[in-house]
Amino acid sequence: MSKTHAIQLNRVAKEYRRDTFRVPVLAELDLDVDEGEFLALMGPSGSGKTTLLNLIAGLDRPTSGEIWIRGQELSQLTDSELTRWRADNIGFIFQLYNLIPVLTAFENVELPLLLTSLSRKRRRDQVRTALRVVGLSDREDHYPRQLSGGQEQRVAIARAIVTDPYLIVADEPTGDLDRASAEDILDLLEQLNREFQKTIVMVTHDPHAAERAGRLLKLDKGRLVDDASKSRLGAVS
């Protein structure tokens, strides 16, 4: 084995059950993502991108198939183990930032660390480091409403990386931002990928954003349409 797969999906299917009938969303999906890869997922609305991301991040469970992350098959975990696993392995970035409005930037970033046994001082050091990476050291006492959308998203990124997670998932992280702010966020993700070798899966509607990723996959009606090996976007352009 030359390389560990960060993410490995084997014949993963997902359907939602609504009352009596079923809504199939993902069908027999296979996917390998290497450690340190920056993967962009594109596709029309309703094609199942968020659903797929949620499965990879351990927020939801597939109807069938296996999901291996860092050598761990997720269906082996109970709900509470899965919650714990997310805390240890996943950094989340959402389209709508999802910061806690009553907490300062510092406190928002500190939240995931409260689940660890780190000392107060260690937590503070890590929060400061994360805020420095996203360039918001001077804003740690600001509340979300005192920040611009781009800054809020950077705080959210700091929150996602503060625990040094194995995998970062981002669902349309630039979807609500103007061009310039979006570029900042993409720069940041690229930096995380390149400098810190973070594995990143990013869902996006924006072809510009997708270009920044090392690899692009398209999802259509629950199927991955591009072959993974042929879609090295960076090599094409």
Binding site: R84, R86, V102, E107
Partner: protein, 388 residues
């Protein structure tokens, strides 16, 4: 506790809602604390009077009906009775106060034999007994209104047409749990005034008769005897031990205790609804936030704990204001002086105050459970999809 900050911020999110919840808990607990204290004090006082072997005779028709003054002599002469005195409620106005303090027309020769737990300097007692318009006042009354020996106490009649002009001749003291704010004057002084100035209107009335028995065992038979003897007269009497009398007086025939308990339960229940509703609303607004916390690894139990901590905190804050607040309020501000002798003292015991706090905490806990359980039951992915 590293989550404390988050819990506190959450309660401050909607200050109006939190304040209203706190206020409703506080007001209810304040009232409950007062009622419970009232009962507790009456209980305490009643428990102590038993030792004094006193009985009180009133009209079988109730308080407002007179008891002929001849009853005093009749009861006083009975075997087993040490001494008897009229006990006439005058109910006059002092300066501008309507319910100033208790004023009783009594027999100056016997009253301190009957209330022998009180102490009075012998020379003062003597000078009171020698002055028709003299009066004896309690130590607290003297201290609170700065009334000294020789001072005048003008009282304006309310029940009786005759206005009295009393002179303080003596100051009595006694145990803390007795009424140390009463004003005792000579029954004859009022009687003479009524006869002289008002053609005897309202005269001849002892009000009630208080008597001291030689021993406690004979109280039931003495009461029965007194009432039997007056049964066929124009004014039948009802005699009971001082303890029973106070109980009747303070609890309106005993229903009050049951009533207070039932009202208390109703109050607790409605507080559960108020606080539970506030919590449910608060969490509804935070559906997405709870989902985010769950996504980044907060477990169900932790969320449950945070929600309960929040609702307990709000309710306990109300409890502190209402229950502990009432304790300090009444420690600082003794309302018993305005009770015209009904309450010898009024203070909220720590037991009562802490029980109130415990009730508040329980309300917080119970009211948080349902909203908290509903909040963690929501699916994380649905919560994240929800756009508020």
């Amino acid at each position: 506790m590293k989550f404390l900050g988050y819990v506190l911020r959450n309660t401050a999110r909607n200050p109006i809602r939190s304040t209203l919840t706190i206020a409703s808990v506080a007001i209810s607990l304040f009232l409950m604390t007062m009622l419970v204290t009232y009962l507790a004090i009456n209980n305490e006082v009643r428990g102590t009077v038993k030792a004094y072997n006193r009985i009180i005779t009133m009209s079988s028709q109730g308080f407002a009906q007179p008891v002929p003054i001849a009853e005093v002599a009749r009861i006083g002469a009975m075997e087993g009775i040490e001494a008897a005195s009229p006990l006439l409620w005058y109910g006059g106005k002092y300066q501008e106060e309507t319910l100033a303090f208790a004023q009783f027309g009594i027999d100056g020769d016997t009253i301190f034999k009957i209330y022998d737990e009180y102490s009075i300097p012998p020379d003062q007692l003597k000078s009171f007994q020698q002055d028709r318009s003299g009066c004896v006042i309690g130590r607290k009354l003297s201290a609170e209104r700065n009334l000294k020996i020789g001072d005048r106490i003008p009282l304006k009649g309310d029940i009786y047409p005759f206005d009295m002009n009393l002179t303080v001749r003596a100051i009595y003291d006694g145990p803390e749990n007795r009424d140390l704010r009463a004003c005792w004057f000579h029954w004859e002084y009022l009687e003479e005034g009524l006869k002289r100035d008002f053609k005897g209107k309202g005269a001849g009335n002892a009000g009630a008769v208080v008597a001291k028995c030689e021993d406690g065992d004979s109280i039931p038979s003495l009461c029965k005897k007194i009432d039997t003897l007056s049964l066929n007269s124009d004014s039948p009497t009802r005699t009971q031990s001082e303890e029973a009398f106070l109980k009747m007086f303070s609890e309106f025939a005993g229903d009050l205790r049951v009533l207070i308990r039932n009202v208390g339960l109703a109050v607790v229940f409605s507080l559960l609804c108020v606080s539970g509703n506030a919590m449910a609303m608060a969490l509804r607004e935070r559906t997405r936030e709870v989902a985010v916390l769950r996504a980044i690894g907060f477990g169900k139990l932790l969320i449950l704990f945070l929600v309960l901590a929040e609702s307990v905190f709000v309710a306990v804050l109300g409890g502190v204001v209402g229950s502990i607040g009432s304790k300090f309020l009444f420690d600082f501000f003794d309302v018993s002086r305005y009770s015209a002798g009904f309450l010898p003292f009024f203070y909220v015991s720590w037991t009562t105050a802490l029980a109130g706090l415990a009730v508040a905490a329980t309300i917080g806990l119970l009211s948080g459970i349902v909203p908290a359980a509903l909040a963690v039951r929501n699916s994380v992915i649905d919560g994240l999809r929800k756009v508020v």
